[in-house]
């Protein structure tokens, strides 16, 4: 475990030693950002909309007291979405999608000697291959989380009003009440931390793949498992430190 962590830290440091030119890294980052961002919009949209809808229905189901105003449903959907569901659930979904993609891609490059080909040319393979992925993830994850926030709250609105659990006016009153702007900052900081963890852990697992196709599959699975665990631990640490 410690040995793996040490190797991970060394891997991280190699990203910045003898890096490639900023122009190359910038171009590669944009390419990776498009790949990560565009390809993830659909799954993030589906997951966040339904999570918002389910949250709204379940909060409504639990609010049985007549003393609590119905607008509380909107308030709770907003708070749960911004503080936890949008950044964490989106990141866990992305750990599965983006993490396995990164690990599988790098693992395949490693076993087919494409990484060696880069090294022989005198190109720092970690800087060229991994750094743009990490930067792209850190750039794109917050955008996806913001999208998830909007869609989740909208999903709650649609589910609440269509089922008659809450009126449109009550829901809007709820989501506008007692808003703390810092919560958005907190969610965005979390999304950046999660993006960094998912992209680096998946890259680490993929980069050190050896063997054949079976090992590439195993590396992808390990990358997703490790990333999800890291996200959950980081989620707790962020809550303790930042709230």
């Amino acid at each position: 475990m410690l040995q793996h962590f040490g190797k991970y830290l060394l891997f991280m440091s190699s990203l910045f030693v003898r890096g490639e030119s900023p122009r190359i890294i910038f171009n590669r980052t944009i390419d990776e950002a498009i790949l990560i961002g565009i390809n993830s919009i659909f799954i993030v949209a589906i997951v966040s909309t339904f999570i918002g809808a389910v949250t709204c229905v379940q909060v409504s189901y639990n609010l049985t007291s007549a003393l609590i105003p119905r607008s509380t449903i909107g308030f709770m959907v907003r708070e749960m979405t911004i503080l936890e569901l949008a950044p964490t659930i989106t990141s866990i979904v992305l750990a599965g999608k983006v993490g396995s993609n990164i690990a599988g891609g790098l693992g395949t490059m490693q076993i087919t000697e494409q990484v060696d080909a880069l090294e022989v040319m005198g190109i720092n393979s970690t800087s060229y291959l991994v750094l743009p992925k990490v930067m792209a993830a850190v750039l794109v994850f917050p955008m996806l989380v913001v999208l998830a926030m909007f869609l989740s709250i909208a999903g709650g609105y649609v589910a609440g009003t269509l089922t008659g659990e809450i009126t449109a006016q009550e829901y809007i009153t709820g989501i506008r009440s007692d808003f703390i702007p810092y919560n958005i900052t907190f969610a965005l900081i979390k999304s950046i931390v999660f993006a960094f963890l998912i992209s680096t852990i998946s890259s680490f697992r993929g980069y050190y793949t050896s063997g054949g196709a079976l090992e590439v599959g195993a590396a992808s699975t390990t990358a997703v498992t490790n990333s999800v665990i890291a996200v959950l631990i980081a989620d707790y640490v962020c809550a303790e430190v930042l709230l």
Binding site: E20, E113, Q114, D116, A117, E119, M121, G122
Partner: protein
């Protein structure tokens, strides 16, 4: 010229290379010959710096490489072209992008100059017009050719080939061998080829180093190899010859079978009732 001196390498206590020294001359095809698992590929990777030897040194035209400063190592690496066993083409890029890649990364050439160079290299390896193809659309032999084009694109001084014939039929293997030989002579580069194929030795080998269980057992020219009295080398040559004969017999059998089938087909066609 590349010189290696006393190269040692172990993996987990298992000695893979045991004090190998030698000189690889410029303008010549230098072969690292040996059966599978004798450490040929590990030695090649030690020379190009993909694996760090436990002990020993590598010198490229008098410049110390192994533990030298990173800048100097990078400078030397930029003069190296390498053809990998599985070609190692970047599968997300087209043929043109693959060949252009080292030019884009390592030179200050304009896009127009780069494209001209790419087209020249592709033409040189007999693949003009394949620019837009993806590696997945190429045959094994074509992939090797693109690999060679990529290796020579930035005017490499040293060419390394790790089993360039593996997975190829004898005719294509011969063509790849000839191509490497022509390029070596044309550009006067130092070429090192890892192989276990005696055909390559006979066709293109100028200087041969025979490895056995991580040790250099013999070194010489292709004319001298048949007169050696080293048992391991003779066994290797014998086994190779047997395998070649077996392949030849198999090929002849296949040809005979095809001829028989063709004759049978022709006979049936002839005897078919009219109308």
């Amino acid at each position: 010229m590349i010189e290696i001196h006393n190269i040692h390498k172990s993996f987990g206590g298992k000695k893979v290379l045991d004090g190998i020294s030698g000189v690889f001359e410029t303008g010549k095809i230098n072969l690292l010959l040996g059966a599978s698992g004798t450490g040929k590929s590990v030695l090649l990777k030690c020379i190009v710096g993909l694996i760090k030897p436990d002990l020993g040194s590598v010198t490229f035209d008098g410049t110390y490489f192994t533990n030298n400063k990173l800048d100097i190592r990078q400078e030397i690496r930029r003069k190296i072209g390498m053809l990998f066993q599985g070609s190692a083409l970047f599968d997300s890029m087209t043929v043109e992008e693959n060949v252009d890649f080292p030019l884009k990364m390592l030179t200050n050439m304009s896009r127009k100059e780069r494209i001209e160079r790419v087209n020249f290299c592709l033409k040189r390896v007999g693949l003009e017009g394949a620019n837009r193809k993806m590696p997945s659309e190429l045959s094994g032999g074509m992939k090797k050719r693109v690999g060679i084009a990529r290796a020579i694109a930035p005017n490499c001084t040293y060419l390394f080939c790790d089993e360039p014939n593996s997975g190829l039929d004898p005719q294509t293997a011969l063509k790849i061998d000839e191509l490497i030989k022509e390029i070596t002579e044309e550009y006067n580069i130092t070429t090192i080829i890892v192989t276990h194929d005696m055909n390559s030795v006979i066709e293109i080998g100028d200087k041969i180093m025979f490895l056995f269980e991580g040790k250099k057992l013999w070194e010489g020219t292709k004319d001298e190899i048949m007169d050696t009295d080293i048992k391991e080398l003779n066994d290797f040559i014998f086994a190779n010859r047997l395998m070649r004969d077996a392949k030849r017999i198999e090929e002849e059998d296949r040809e005979e079978e095809q001829e028989r089938e063709a004759e049978e087909h022709a006979r049936l066609e002839k005897n078919k009732p009219a109308g």
